[in-house]
Symmetry: C2
Subunit: 224 residues, 2 copies
């Protein structure tokens, strides 16, 4: 989502990163979620406020941004295909999240370490290769250079690169080994992070580093 | 998805239910998924073939059908809101699925019964009420009775009713108790299943009964 805003050069304020005394941080997010006057309340972060419209759910936000900022194909079938790939990535990310939270989000990681170990083992053995093989095939079938859909970068390429970067944080050796066998994904990742605006963004220090409070977590005891 | 096609009165063939000798069943689905000539292969079922376009991911299929069959608002902001709610329902369904598969889809239920029990307990105690409270609030804030968005039924109402029916199969007493406390959801469920075309569909016998090979499963040992 942030990569899409950066690639588009769209001005935005990242409320989560804004200091609390400037009206940002976690309290500001909670205020939005609990606003009793909201006609269309989001269930959870992330959400985007664009004028008076509040848009929730990552794939929905990207659908909105992609259309407005030239990060999606112009034809309806192409847009549906990008949305389909984005939703498949959302499923993939949910499974990545579940490696450290197999018993769900209502318990801490420390309360489910044994189960997390089992789930991670199954994930690395069968789900990670299955998803990565699929996305590698999508690039191959597209047949037009580093991207997943058509000849120009779309928002799902940004999401794919972000997921690969997150996987490299969470499971460094498993991911490096997987990418050596999937050159198209490796090339897509590098092509995204070589985009001038994305490079400037990463160099700016504004990009939040991966950390163990988020979806992608590094717990060496889980393996990978 | 099937409820949307039925409510729209759209002609369709349910390939999964078609006998194998007529070119249907599981082999036909696998053939689509493994078709080496497919430019845009889906990752997994369900998918919809509409003319030459193959559309995957439930929320994406409903986005497509909703627009074409009058099951979505006409304005872009309304359509985005329906998509957002649908994606929140997809998240909810993923958590419902994980109650019987906390260690992931690559192991059988029988291999993860102890973990499933723990996850179900956490789900019933905290996630089920959180999601249902949210959807109840969405109907309340909409303020235009029984539906979630606007004054007319949209596809997300059909999805919501289907999820409630699935929950009643999987966790009968927990769901009945939850709906007694959330009258708007109970009313939405009844309003959907009272629609003439939905009633005819249910009465026809063509609707697949809930069963333990699918997302919603009844395992009394898990509780609920």
């Amino acid at each position: 989502m942030r990569l899409a805003l950066e690639e588009a050069g769209a001005p935005y304020v990242d409320i989560a990163l804004l200091p609390e005394k400037e009206g940002g941080g976690a309290p500001a997010i909670v205020r939005y979620l609990q606003d009793k006057g909201a006609k269309r309340p989001p269930f959870a972060p992330p959400f985007l406020k664009a004028g008076r419209q509040v848009i929730g759910q990552t794939a929905n936000i990207l659908l909105y941004l992609g259309e407005r900022h030239g990060l999606a194909p112009r034809d309806a079938a192409g847009r549906a295909w990008v949305n389909q790939l984005q939703l498949t990535l959302v499923d993939f990310v949910a499974e990545i999240h579940d490696t450290h939270h197999p018993l769900g989000p209502s318990l801490y990681y420390e309360e489910q370490k044994a189960e997390a170990k089992k789930r991670t083992t199954a994930f690395l053995a069968s789900r990670l290769p299955k998803f990565l093989d699929y996305f590698e095939r999508v690039i191959e079938r597209n047949g037009a250079g580093p991207w997943m859909v058509g000849r120009r970068l779309t928002y799902v390429d940004l999401s794919m690169a972000q997921v690969l970067a997150g996987l490299e944080y969470a499971f460094p050796s498993a991911t490096r080994a997987a990418l050596r066998k999937r050159p198209r994904l490796a090339r897509l990742h590098d092509a995204v992070f070589a985009r001038p605006r994305i490079r400037r963004y990463v160099a700016s220090g504004r990009r939040l580093a991966f950390n163990n409070d988020d979806v992608f977590r590094r717990y060496p005891e889980l393996g990978g």
